[in-house]
């Protein structure tokens, strides 16, 4: 069974009297443990699509099933619970909480969103920080570490709840090439080790070259579906 299934998905924004069709009758399927990327120029609708998949926004019409749930009918609290349980987010600007240390940033979803025992929590966090390579930075605050390290922390935060799906919006946009490749490697490794599905919204060629499935969006429509080079391991 597929992890994400979209059928005739449409999203229309109303700005004053203007109706903007951000997504136009899009259908696609994303399988479990896959590495998928939505690509396209700015304004093509890739972030909107990611927001719909992430239950941050609701479709205007069409159906969208994520991890077996019809996300269009979830209330605010149900959507929050669904995100906390099933989804992980990686943002372009990392979006770490500046008042929390690296360790605490990763710990936050487990404490506030999921109730996990102290022992289990500590084990998971240290293991993830070690895997993403920032264990030695665990007591530092976000403003004391580099951009690449921040994004690794964000990956750890996204994965600490054992989500089924991680949504990453332009995760390498603010990183240099070398760091970006290391981040992509880390995500690949996470996918391979944990079986997590990664869905990206990007126009970064470095990511595009590493994914298995590439959906190209143009003016809110999927205009091309291609197989990438990163699918060899699965």
């Amino acid at each position: 069974m597929s992890l994400i299934s979209a059928q005739d998905l449409t999203k229309v924004y109303t700005v004053g009297e203007l109706r903007v069709h951000a997504i136009k009758s899009v259908s696609f399927v994303v399988e479990r443990s896959s590495f998928v990327s939505f690509v396209g120029p700015s304004g093509s609708g890739k972030t909107t699509l990611l927001n719909l998949i992430g239950c941050l926004d609701r479709p205007t019409s069409g159906s969208l099933t994520v991890a077996g749930a019809d996300t269009s009918v979830l209330s605010r609290t149900e959507a929050a619970d669904f995100r906390g349980k099933n989804l992980g987010f990686i943002f372009q600007d990392f979006n770490l909480m500046p008042i929390l240390t690296v360790y605490e940033n990763v710990e936050y979803p487990l404490l506030v969103i999921q109730n996990v025992s102290n022992e289990e929590r500590k084990k998971r966090i240290l293991s993830l920080l070690d895997t993403v390579g920032v264990l030695d930075q665990k007591d530092k605050y976000p403003d004391q570490i580099s951009g690449g390290q921040k994004q690794r922390v964000a990956i750890a935060r996204a994965l600490v709840t054992n989500p089924r799906l991680v949504l990453a919006d332009e995760p390498t946009a603010n990183l240099d090439s070398k760091t970006a490749f290391r981040i992509i490697d880390t995500m690949h490794q996470m996918r391979d080790e944990l079986g997590v599905t990664f869905v990206f919204s990007t126009h970064d060629r470095k990511i595009v070259s590493e994914v298995e499935h590439i959906y190209t969006l143009t003016d809110g429509k999927i205009t091309e579906k291609a197989e990438g080079q990163g699918g060899g391991d699965v």
Partner: protein
């Protein structure tokens, strides 16, 4: 929950200067209110004890109708021996009364054989009177502390006006109930300090001398003053005494006895009410200070952290938890400000007590203001400030919790 508390605390520390300023403002408000309340309460209690312990007593009982014509101190409205005995029995039946003192009050003429002036006389049992108004001996400026038979205590104003000194012989002339005029010589036993109010010009003689002067064949009493064991039981004792005496009615079917607390006897009660009203408005000001400052800080905090709110909402934080997060921040601001305010108040109160600020009230000079912090006031102010802090944070917190994560994440 503990994690939310920790995060809220850190959020406040993130904007140290702003948190410090807001907490300081709350602390100043708390200090101002607590110092005002403790000082005004000390002033009020001091004045009440001055009035009740030097003249009035805590409660007085008269014959019904006596108070309406008290200016003329009518002998015709005195309680008879039988009525006084009934009253005594009722007084002894009510728990909480420490002492009582019967008084015969009348108006007379006071003469030093060269000049004559009017005087109000209290005929009292000296020991009973000092039990009810223990500050009376303290009002003696010259002479003996205890009233003896054949002696009169005169107010300072009268002594000065007629140039009368302790040991001088004077005459008091009074009209008895029948209308005949009687006179009696007295030795001036003491000159007493005048106090503010109509009773401040009263002279004192022994009750047996009063009976003799007024040619009373049996005991008659104008009023009975009472002192309570615990002043806080004033209204309980008053109403119990009233109900104990309610079975005695006069010819027109009204209660024979008129029981009044000091509040109905002294004009200072209105001043004390005014102080309470002022305290209420001062508390309102504190509420306004806390409300505005906390709300201002929390609105700023929400505005500055929109993206953060978006992030925590996106990763699955429930709207209710976001609401709590900001409410806890408001709570902390209130708690820190209150705590600091209480510490500053303790110091300020200690300093005021150490400096011994004195003031005059009417003819009473050198009264020392001794503010005392009462735990009830501290608890009340703390609860008000903390509750108002949470309420002030409610609107911004609600706004944060209702934010759509998608919009919040887009915020620049």
């Amino acid at each position: 929950m503990f994690k939310l508390v920790k995060i809220a605390f850190r959020n406040l520390l993130r904007y140290k200067r702003r948190t410090l300023l807001t907490s300081s403002l709350i602390a100043v408000g708390v200090t101002f209110v607590l110092v005002f309340v403790s000082s005004s309460s000390a002033f009020k209690n001091l004045m009440i004890s001055q009035i009740t312990d030097s003249m009035l007593g805590h409660i007085q009982v008269h014959k019904q109708g006596y108070m309406a014509s008290i200016d003329s101190l009518p002998l015709t409205m005195n309680l008879s021996q039988k009525q006084y005995e009934k009253l005594k029995k009722a007084i002894l039946s009510v728990p909480g009364i420490q002492a009582y003192s019967p008084r015969i009050k009348f108006a007379g003429m006071f003469s030093n054989f060269m000049e004559t002036t009017n005087i109000r006389i209290n005929g009292v049992y000296p020991d009973k009177e000092t039990d009810v108004v223990p500050l009376l001996p303290g009002r003696v400026k010259q002479g003996e502390k205890v009233i003896k038979k054949g002696e009169i205590f005169i107010p300072e104003l009268l002594a000065k006006g007629l140039n009368v000194k302790v040991g001088n012989t004077v005459v008091v002339i009074a009209t008895n109930r029948d209308g005949s005029v009687n006179g009696k010589q007295f030795r001036v036993g003491a000159v007493i300090e005048s106090v503010t109010g109509p009773g401040g010009r009263d002279g004192y003689i022994h009750i047996e001398d009063a009976k003799e002067l007024l040619r009373l064949e049996e005991m008659e009493v104008s009023e009975v003053a009472l002192r309570l064991k615990d002043f806080d039981e004033l209204h309980r004792v008053s109403s119990e005494l009233q109900s104990a005496l309610s079975i005695d009615v006069n010819k027109s079917g009204k209660p024979l006895f008129d029981v009044r607390t000091w509040e109905a006897l002294s004009p200072f009660y209105n001043v004390s009410r005014m102080i309470e009203v002022m305290t209420f408005f001062i508390r309102l000001m504190l509420i306004a200070i806390v409300l505005i400052s906390v709300m201002n800080v929390m609105i700023m905090a929400v505005f500055e952290r929109i993206r953060e709110i978006g992030t925590i909402a996106a990763i699955g934080t429930r709207p209710g938890k976001i609401l709590y997060l900001f409410l806890i921040e408001g709570f902390f601001l209130g708690v820190v400000g209150t705590f600091a305010g209480i510490i500053i108040t303790c110091l300020t109160t200690y300093i005021i007590n150490a400096v011994e600020i004195s003031f005059n009230f009417g003819r009473q000079v050198g009264l020392i203001l001794s503010p005392r912090l009462e735990i009830e006031q501290i608890v009340l102010i703390s609860v008000i400030v903390i509750v108002v802090s949470i309420l002030a944070a409610l609107q911004p917190a609600f706004k944060a919790s209702r934010m759509e994560p998608i919009n919040a994440l887009r915020h620049v």
